[in-house]
Symmetry: C2
Subunit: 207 residues, 2 copies
DNA sequence: CGTAAATTTTACCAATTGGTAAAGAGACGA
DNA sequence: TCGTCTCTTTACCAATTGGTAAAATTTACG
């Protein structure tokens, strides 16, 4: 269904699939799905174009594989939100983790953002099947924290949106950030700003 | 330099250039720069492909024209930040305005975001020449408000980043938002959430 | 070693791409 | 009514695209 025969992947398969996916990440995130070419990915991976298509059925297959794997990595920190932890610190930890990912893996963030921009046509089902249930579960946890008075009353889904938006901005709009900060590395002040901002938003006001 | 001869634009020119830019906005924002085709834009505009190229020199010329015009529209509300107004209300008004634009003109937001994702190769100069000076000016105003004790101490540039990110998220990640909210229209709750959030962040704590 | 399977290369292709040349059709003032 | 300038169409093209067929080569393994 996906690519080479159906067997256990050999060492060569593991290596080349990884080479291809690594190169594809760079190309797709830089040029967008439509602007990316198999030739460009092949060159990046050090393979010939027909050889690419020995490992993946099509350009789309590479792209979708990349996005699916990505979605998992990207969701991990959200999964770790612990209902039994301290609410404010759990959420601030999540913000921190998300910011770090954006700063360290900007290509991954951009690839995902590019797919979103185009209406997520190729991973809509993943969003429905994987992200949505997780999202609902975590919103419920946040709502419980609020009901228990351990968190200021916020709108859980929109809080999550704001966290995602504010953190990913440093990856997705990195070019703009860089220009507007005059090239200064944003990481330290961004972290301080986001921590301060979300602490104010989350801290319950009746201690 | 840009397109048809050098004269005052006739009525036909005005109309067709508008048709082309309107169609191009839809196509570029949906398919990205690389994925967009002149044929698709021409069809959308109801013109033939060679006729497009009578009005614009190239695909890139259409794209850049669109982005430049866009940048102005998008910057307008920031320009209106009034140093003599009430700081908190000025900024909350800006948030509100920015959110409205994202909800009502998502294609414009996506087009801009797409260019940013790719490192802004085609409007880097506009960012430098137009956005950067404006940005610095507005950061200074915010800093003055803070120094005057009329605003909680925030990091002005990063505050603006967070405002941009949180508002544009509803346009750029509209597909995701829609899935996660189960199709519910986000506008009312988004507005309430952002107002509440940024009010907390901006309100000085020593009244 | 030998051989069958896995991998890679070479040669190729139809479709699409951005863009051009030049002929033709309208508009419009003198 | 004529002639000129603006606009539009038709016909075309070289380059690139995603993808295939099949031969050639490597690798794994008994």
């Amino acid at each position: 269904m996906t690519t080479p025969p159906t067997k256990k992947p050999s060492r060569i398969q593991m290596r080349n699939r990884r080479l291809i996916l690594d190169a594809a990440l760079v190309v797709f995130s830089r040029d967008g799905y439509g602007g990316a070419t198999l030739d460009s990915i092949a060159t990046g991976a050090g393979l010939s174009k027909p050889n690419l298509l020995y490992y993946f059925d099509s350009k789309t297959a590479i792209y979708v594989t990349l996005l699916s794997q990505l979605l998992e990595t990207w969701l991990d920190p959200l999964i770790e939100l612990d209902p039994d932890g301290d609410p404010v610190e759990e959420l601030l930890g999540y913000v921190r983790h998300k910011l770090d990912m954006s700063l360290e893996l900007p290509d991954e963030s951009k690839l995902f953002a590019g797919e979103m921009l185009q209406g997520a046509p190729r991973i809509m089902n993943h969003l429905q099947d994987e992200l949505k249930p997780l999202f609902d579960r975590k919103c419920a946890i946040i709502q419980n924290w609020i009901d228990a008075g351990k968190l200021a009353p916020v709108d859980p889904p929109h809080l999550i949106f704001s966290i995602w938006a504010a953190t990913q901005h440093y990856a997705d709009f990195g070019a703009q950030v860089s220009v507007l900060l005059g090239g200064e590395n944003p990481s330290v002040r961004a972290a301080a700003h986001l921590e301060q901002m979300f602490r104010k938003v989350l801290q319950p006001q009746t201690p």
